[in-house]
Symmetry: C2
Subunit: 310 residues, 2 copies
């Protein structure tokens, strides 16, 4: 069985942490145990992950040093975060695999994702990146850099960038070869570095691709038996926050789409995850699951989480 | 023909530049033209590169933001620099290959290198990393962090870390598979992230592996027909800076070793490069060349640079 796993922020570092390497190592060690158990049960894994807090810290470091070190654009920061997280995750997972005496190795491939330069998302940037500011500071930075800022629910301002749809993984050929050889690959971290294609050349753009949508593309590419989106909650709910709240065990694509269009899933959290599950099913996938990290093994075998089927 | 190419700093960004992404893109575009010409002549490439200025800037950014964002250890910073440089280099090279209509793709693999935790280098740190300081500032940081500082020829102080010998590339199996499939792989940037093995587990260490020595290991691993170390000068000289200075066209390993032991090659520059060439020949390699970036194609075919043979 082959499964694409999308790891949420809680799999990489503890909520409310300060972002030290030790915190990340501890969270990743726990995540790696779960993932290695799957490999021990003969599940072939392709792993992708978010990078919000990590790339946020890189952007913040760039800002504090901006007078002395020229800041890198978003695409380069995204690649740096892939190196950072991918290294720590592959190392941790590889150790967990070795402890089990498994011959499978884990590695990280720096991954780019092609997006359409005319994606309507570029006209309406929505994805917050980096630190938050009081209004005057945000205005000053916007003036200096041309970055777009938006007010957040906490009344502070953050830079927003476009979140275009992922069209294609650039490194698909070598990625497939490494997976077919039986290795666990960490790929397309943070949704992949977004690039546009122009006259056969690739060029990075200032945007962030949704990591769950990229996970769906990845799952389609590798013809995964399942897409597994791991998050902080055990199941998807309808009527969330109301007395009629109800957890979903198993949903058809048609039903899920109706619920999604009915606004049942919040845009900033469960919405994109459900959309990603539907994207995988629409592209021919047979099963997508949203589950809690600790339930990963059960979820792969259909005994936990919310399962989406065609 | 298969060649491992080690790129020096001048291939990644201009000397005296400020380190912007645009500077790097311009330098890498030029480097990529040279490399793509080799691929067009049917040379299979594995590329490795330095990361001194880039990881130096990451360390500096960390320092300016240290009050707000916890600094990452050296191994993680090295992995970030692999992501940064590997992304830009693979993208640039891939574009150069596409422009030539070549089916070969370029990609970057985050790479770890096993070193011996008891390598004597750990008792005598010599490799300067990060920014330079006046003495009091260096003392303050040394006190806070436990880092070791040394005075440099310019009378300023810099942190020094160990430079242990590279023993083995962790990702050797997948690396070989991707190379055998015909792709150009950017690997082991900055000499690879140094890790020690303890009870079958890997753990990053605060050290920097010499990138040319890692290139030699890489060349041995992939059974390269040649190791090509590209630098800013066209040939290796003996009697450097004296009236008897003489450029070397072709040297035997025995002769080179005699010159190296005689102190002909400065420790901080040509010495490690000649050592790397000898390491490759000692491990069974047939040819190693030190040449200028612009002479890469001629050097591969024996018409430029200094060639070392067994």
């Amino acid at each position: 069985m082959r499964v694409v796993v999308a790891l949420g922020g809680n799999a990489l570092s503890p909520a409310g942490g300060t972002g030290t390497a030790e915190e990340m190592r501890a969270a990743l060690a726990r995540t790696s145990e779960t993932l290695a158990d799957l490999v021990a049960r003969d599940v072939g894994l392709v792993i992708t992950h978010g990078n919000g807090p990590q790339v946020g810290r890189i952007l913040l470091q760039q800002e504090y040093a901006a007078e002395y070190v020229p800041p890198m654009p978003m695409d380069v920061c995204g690649a740096q975060s892939q190196g950072q997280i991918g290294y720590l995750l592959a190392q941790s997972l590889d150790s967990a695999l070795r402890r089990r005496g498994l011959p499978t190795r884990a590695l990280c491939l720096v991954t780019q994702v092609v997006v359409n330069g005319r994606d309507p998302a570029f006209r309406r940037p929505t994805k917050p990146v980096g630190p938050s500011y009081e209004r005057p500071e945000a205005q000053r930075i916007a003036h200096q850099t041309g970055h777009v800022f938006r007010i957040m629910p906490d009344r502070r301002w953050r830079r927003v960038v476009a979140s275009p749809a992922p069209l294609r993984i650039v490194e698909e050929e070598p990625l497939l070869q490494v997976i077919d050889a039986g290795h666990v690959v960490v790929a397309a971290g943070g949704g992949g570095v977004p690039v546009v294609e122009h006259k056969r050349e690739l060029r990075g753009v200032e945007a962030v691709v949704d990591k769950d949508l990229t996970a769906a593309r990845l799952a389609t590419l590798v013809r995964a038996d399942a897409l597994l989106i791991l998050t902080a909650v055990p199941q998807v709910q309808v009527g969330f926050g109301t007395p009629a709240a109800r957890a979903l065990d198993r949903v058809s694509a048609a039903e899920a789409r109706k619920l999604l269009e009915g606004g049942e899933f919040p845009e900033g959290s469960m919405g994109p995850k459900v959309s990603a599950c539907l994207a995988f099913l629409d592209a021919g996938g047979s099963r997508a699951v949203i589950a809690a990290l600790d339930d990963a093994a059960a979820a792969v075998f259909g005994d936990a989480g919310t399962t989406f089927v065609r």
